[in-house]
């Protein structure tokens, strides 16, 4: 019986502890999260509503924008400065407080006293900016934060087009990877914003080699809604460059320079300076240079690569050489490094379906094994995975190419005589493995 009385408090203690632990696990470890109501005893049933009211604003300030919140500036030249005023009015009965939030340009809140707008009062909000580089469409915005509970933030935006007298679309022309020995062509559109009509004379590449192999076609058209941001251009020309086979293999970066003349009434005040450039601040638009007093030059950047039928996808480990072969640099491999590596052989050209690739001679064949897997492809390109397996031995294998021919070699062979074989050098050192 004595123990019974002891058991009672013990049960109480245990039960309480257990209940507390359960409660703590379920809720107690979480930080109280009761919004305006604090846990320090200062908020109680008697003053809760009064306390909550402290957190309200009864401000009857009403921010009314007397202008549209977005202003389309039309077109501006690169580097031009712009400024626009929006008007905001306090249509409420209490002071309207304003401040500038996240902005992308200079934003000035009129000349307000402490940024407070009295009821009925209005103020200009000025956005100023400089049109930046490499943009086709400019947009600047400023966030005006208010104490109007309905409109806590107003985002003011100005936008428009950045245009020069001559624009290209695309401005950077890529003709991709072209198979050596095949012709290729690419095109771009040239838009003129000159008041006077223009006439294209000819075009050249910066690369004389390409110019000699190229023919240009100029097809005039009237810009329309299909031309999107350029629909208001005065004239449009589709310029197509057709390049015959013969361009040497390798990367090409060259400007395409289009020469043109104005054919309308000559405006003496508009006579360009030989070094004048109407778009001097934008690399993305055409440069216009007077060449001989009456001919202008506009240029667009072009780039691409002439490749052979067989190539490999380069990586940090696999690089091409000036001779067209490849070096697969695997470095020194210790016993923890993997012995299998993967790369991709690229087969380019219209005859790809008639070509089978195999691994030819491999040296040293007791160290290097290679296999070609199933290809995947799209368009005129097929990719063949090539799997390299290395065999480490009891002694160091050094194929790091410290001296000539001191590296591994494998050949990728084709069964099509039009597609030549390809050599891949493997530079690797294999530490002995048990």
């Amino acid at each position: 019986m004595k123990k019974f009385w002891l058991l009672i408090p013990l049960a109480v203690v245990l039960g309480t502890s257990f209940a507390w632990a359960m409660n703590y696990v379920q809720y107690g470890h979480r930080k109280a999260y009761l919004g305006e109501i604090t846990m320090d005893g200062t908020v109680h049933a008697g003053n809760v509503m009064e306390k909550l009211a402290e957190y309200q604003t009864d401000a009857n300030a009403v921010a009314e924008l007397l202008t549209e919140k977005t202003y389309d500036f039309g077109a501006l030249e690169p580097g031009a400065k712009g400024k626009h005023e929006f008007i905001i009015k306090n249509s409420g009965k209490e002071p309207l407080r304003l401040e500038v939030g996240a902005s992308t340009c200079k934003c000035t809140l009129g000349s307000l006293n402490k940024n407070v707008l009295a009821p009925g009062e209005s103020t200009p909000i000025t956005l100023e900016w400089t049109v930046g580089n490499d943009v086709k469409i400019f947009e600047q915005s400023a966030e005006i934060r208010t104490n109007d509970p309905i409109r806590p933030a107003i985002r003011l935006t100005v936008n428009g087009l950045v245009i020069s007298d001559i624009e290209f679309q695309p401005k950077k022309v890529t003709f991709g990877e072209v198979l050596s020995g095949e012709s290729f062509e690419f095109s771009t559109k040239m838009y003129s914003y000159f008041d006077d009509p223009i006439e294209l004379v000819d075009a050249v590449f910066g690369s004389e080699e390409m110019t000699e192999l190229a023919e240009f076609e100029f097809e005039p058209f009237d810009p329309s809604a299909d031309d999107d941001v350029y629909q208001h251009a005065k004239q449009g020309f589709r310029i197509t460059a057709k390049v015959k086979p013969g361009v040497r293999q390798g990367p090409i970066v060259t400007p395409m320079q289009v020469r043109f003349k104005k054919t309308g009434e000559s405006d003496a005040t508009n006579t360009p300076d030989p070094k004048d450039s109407t778009d001097a601040t934008s690399e993305s638009t055409a440069e216009i240079v007077l060449a001989d007093g009456e001919t202008y030059v506009a240029s667009a950047e072009c780039a691409g690569r002439i490749i052979g039928s067989l190539s490999m996808i380069e990586s940090s480990k696999l690089k091409t050489t000036s001779g067209g072969s490849y070096v697969w640099t695997l470095g020194r491999l210790d016993e923890d490094d993997p012995l299998e590596y993967k790369a991709f052989v690229v087969l380019k050209g219209s005859q790809q379906d008639e070509v089978n690739l195999t691994i030819g001679e491999v040296y040293p064949d007791d160290v290097i094994q290679a296999s070609i897997g199933k290809s995947v492809g799209r368009g005129n390109m097929k990719l063949f995975p090539i799997q390299l397996k290395l065999q480490a031995g009891q002694e160091l294998v050094d194929l790091l190419g410290k001296s000539k021919d001191d590296f591994g070699i494998l050949w990728v062979e084709s069964d099509n005589p039009k597609v030549g074989r390809m050599k891949v050098a493997v530079k690797v050192a294999l530490e002995p493995r048990p």
Partner: protein, 687 residues
């Protein structure tokens, strides 16, 4: 321009208030029953978010949800019918508490990929699938479940104590901008009873008030005015580290002073290192568009930039339109990974030759979180048609498909990086409900202070800004709403040596390739003239020569051979993007040498510096004509002299070819040319 392409965008001169509130107590209206079925941005309220796909329609059908939380929205149609019951955070039935859908996997990072079919991934996916609760399994949701006994509650904006001016989150704790715009503070919170038209003198106004979503929208004046200070955050479960649209600005070159340039991978690395040292679990995500130009240098920069992201342990990276101007093989060479663990690029709608090369999404497991990430590139954002080996699929179908895949894989938080316009992104989230967060790249300017709400969608939207100047931090919590902070990558973040080494390798690679290896060959000057070098000009124009020699223009090449101060460790005189403005005889806009222009230090010692002919044009004919006994007629001499003249009213435009906004923002200040720059080089013809 001075090394355009390596410069990082410069801060504008505006001032901005930078404050955060202290001791703010947060509630999140999204957590009430109104948030039924929405994915759990906030996790402490029960959210059977794994089943959000099945109930998203409910959210959309809710009057308030349909009205969105846009503070500028008007009264929701059915607002007056809603009983004014305040939400209460612990009202949610326990059965609807967020299903801890994963076993105690600890904090170990695990990844799985869409598109890859590795055994380990299948295991993970099946495990995740097993553990994720279905709507049936979770029982009634926070809205009361299908029994329809839900209680509609009016949203209550977050309570916010009176804000105090506080420093904005930069490493040294200095304000992001001068805190000159601090306005009188006005408490912003209001309670549910405000929504009762009967208790207000201005029913419509009060009713509209209830639509403010302070967890995402900017809040009133006197609320949290500036960006959040991430340093005050409680330890997040997971932190999404969000960047995008680097646009070639891989490092600030220092042309205009490093303190004036934001961004760069070296600072980003340091910042991430700091966060990791705090014990934060980062999930770095990039929206793509790492480069800007075309050609081999762009491909190399893409490779190096991707290497940088790799070293920073980025988990998911998308493609931008400038990236897509590279060839398919260039892209695969960087994007393809032999193992899913090594993979970084994801895309829901870009296929490079075959879908096997780039997975559609990635699932990153951090503790109890399974963050699914994918990326979508809007085809309308492309400047030009992509190669035939590349497919860019439609955005809506692709986003829906990959969302389904991510859900099937067990994603509990779904992130979409989107390259395209904000408007398109918002519409996409309305059309494809189910993503928790959309990260939009391509907008110009700065990221907003807060995530944006999307009308008609529960998805939150943040933007990355342009040129990689900011990093966005999204803190995810199990027991509270997400936190978001944008952090400017200012000079206060020291350059990480790891990234500096990478930049050095980049320059070394350019040196090894040389101009021909970069596909660059000299082009004829449009005038047909040839360059002779500044010293030749100085034979007659002695005073002008003195001025030039005393100017920074004369040191332009030296400044990239031995860059000053912090950039002194890496020479840049093999980088065409730097050379174009630091030598004589290059086209500064196309980064190409003219024939007879500068080629190398050895071959072109007479063309060092930014010489006379860069502005006045190549002067070979003029110089030859002025030689004694040249035999050139006086009329021809006059013509050639005239051709070399550059009137002051046209000079400014020429200067701006190099002194552009990125590399010389001060040049664009009012009267800066007339008052500062021109006086430094003022010269007039011959003596």
């Amino acid at each position: 321009m001075l090394a355009l392409g390596c410069g990082v965008a410069t801060e504008t001169a505006q001032t901005e208030t930078g404050r955060t509130d202290i001791g703010r107590v947060e509630t999140d209206p999204s957590q009430g029953p109104l948030a039924k079925g929405r994915p759990s941005l906030d996790r402490h309220v029960a959210d059977a978010d794994d089943s959000f796909n099945d109930v998203s329609g409910l959210a959309a059908s809710s009057p308030l949800a349909a009205a969105g939380s846009d503070p500028t929205s008007l009264v929701p149609p059915a607002l007056s019918e809603l009983p004014p019951v305040p939400r209460h955070w612990d009202e949610t039935p326990d059965s609807t508490r967020r299903v801890t859908s994963f076993t105690s996997s600890g904090d170990e990072l695990r990844l799985s990929f869409g598109g890859f079919q590795h055994e380990s991934d299948r295991d993970l996916q099946s495990q995740a699938t097993r553990l994720v609760a279905t709507p049936q399994q979770t029982g009634p949701t926070s809205d009361g479940g299908p029994d329809g006994d839900s209680v509609e509650v009016i949203q209550t904006p977050r309570a916010q104590l009176e804000a105090r001016g506080e420093l904005v989150p930069t490493p040294e704790g200095t304000p992001e901008r001068d805190a000159t715009m601090v306005a009188p503070t006005v408490p912003m919170a209001r309670v549910a009873r405000d929504a009762d038209p009967g208790k207000s003198n201005s029913p419509s106004t009060v009713a509209k008030r209830t639509l403010i979503d302070p967890s995402t929208d900017p809040g009133l004046v006197g609320g949290q005015a500036g960006p959040e200070d991430y340093q005050q955050w409680p330890q997040p479960d997971v932190v999404l580290f969000v960047t995008g649209d680097q646009h070639g600005y891989i490092e600030p070159c220092g042309c205009t002073g490093l303190e004036n340039q934001k961004g760069g991978v070296a600072r980003r690395f340091t910042f991430m290192d700091q966060l990791r040292s705090k014990g934060w679990d980062l999930v770095p995500i990039d929206g793509g568009n790492q480069i800007r130009r075309i050609g081999p240098q762009a491909a190399i920069k893409f490779e190096k930039s991707s290497q940088a992201l790799k070293q920073m342990k980025y988990k998911a990276v998308g493609f931008g339109p400038a990236d897509m101007r590279l060839s398919a093989t260039d892209l695969i060479s960087v994007a393809y990974a032999e193992t899913p663990e090594d993979g970084m690029f994801v895309s829901g709608n870009v296929v490079l030759i075959d879908p096997s090369f780039v997975p559609s999404h990635k699932l990153i497991r951090k503790g109890d979180w399974a963050v699914g990430v994918t990326s979508i590139l809007d085809p309308d954002a492309l400047e030009a048609r992509v190669e035939e080996e590349v497919v860019v699929g439609p955005i809506k179908e692709s986003a829906a498909k990959v969302l389904k895949e991510m859900n099937a894989a067990g994603a509990t938080y779904r992130v979409l990086t989107f390259f395209g316009s904000e408007d398109t992104a918002k519409q996409l989230m309305v059309d494809v409900p189910g993503y928790d967060l959309i990260v939009v790249s391509s907008g110009y300017g700065e990221p907003t202070y807060r995530p944006q709400s999307i009308e008609g969608s529960d998805t939150k939207l943040i933007v990355t800004g342009h040129k990689g100047m900011f990093a966005g931090l999204v803190g995810l919590y199990d027991d509270r709403p997400l936190r978001y902070a944008r952090v400017p990558l200012t000079h206060e973040f020291k350059d990480a040596p790891e990234m500096r080494r990478l930049m050095a390798e980049y320059q070394q690679q350019l040196e090894q390739l040389g101009l021909s290896g970069l596909g660059i060959s000299p082009i004829p000057h449009p005038s047909g003239e040839k360059f002779v070098g500044t010293k030749t000009c100085g034979k007659c124009h002695t005073t002008a020569m003195d001025v030039w020699e005393g100017s920074q223009h004369a040191l332009a090449t030296e400044h990239i051979v031995k860059p000053p101060k912090e950039r002194g460790d890496i020479a840049r005189h093999f980088d065409p993007e730097c050379l174009s403005c630091h030598v004589t005889g290059w086209n500064p806009q196309h980064y190409q040498p003219y024939e007879t222009g500068y080629l190398s230090l050895e071959k072109s010692p007479h063309l060092l510096g930014n010489g006379c002919e860069n502005c006045h044009g190549p002067g070979a004919s003029h110089a030859a004509a002025e030689e004694e006994n040249s035999g050139v007629s006086e009329e021809r001499k006059k013509s050639l002299r005239l051709a070399m003249q550059l009137p002051l009213d046209r000079a400014k435009e020429h200067c701006m070819k190099c002194h552009d906004l990125d590399n010389s923002p001060d040049f664009h200040d009012e009267d800066a040319f007339e008052d500062v720059y021109w006086p430094e080089i003022e010269h007039y013809g011959t003596d």
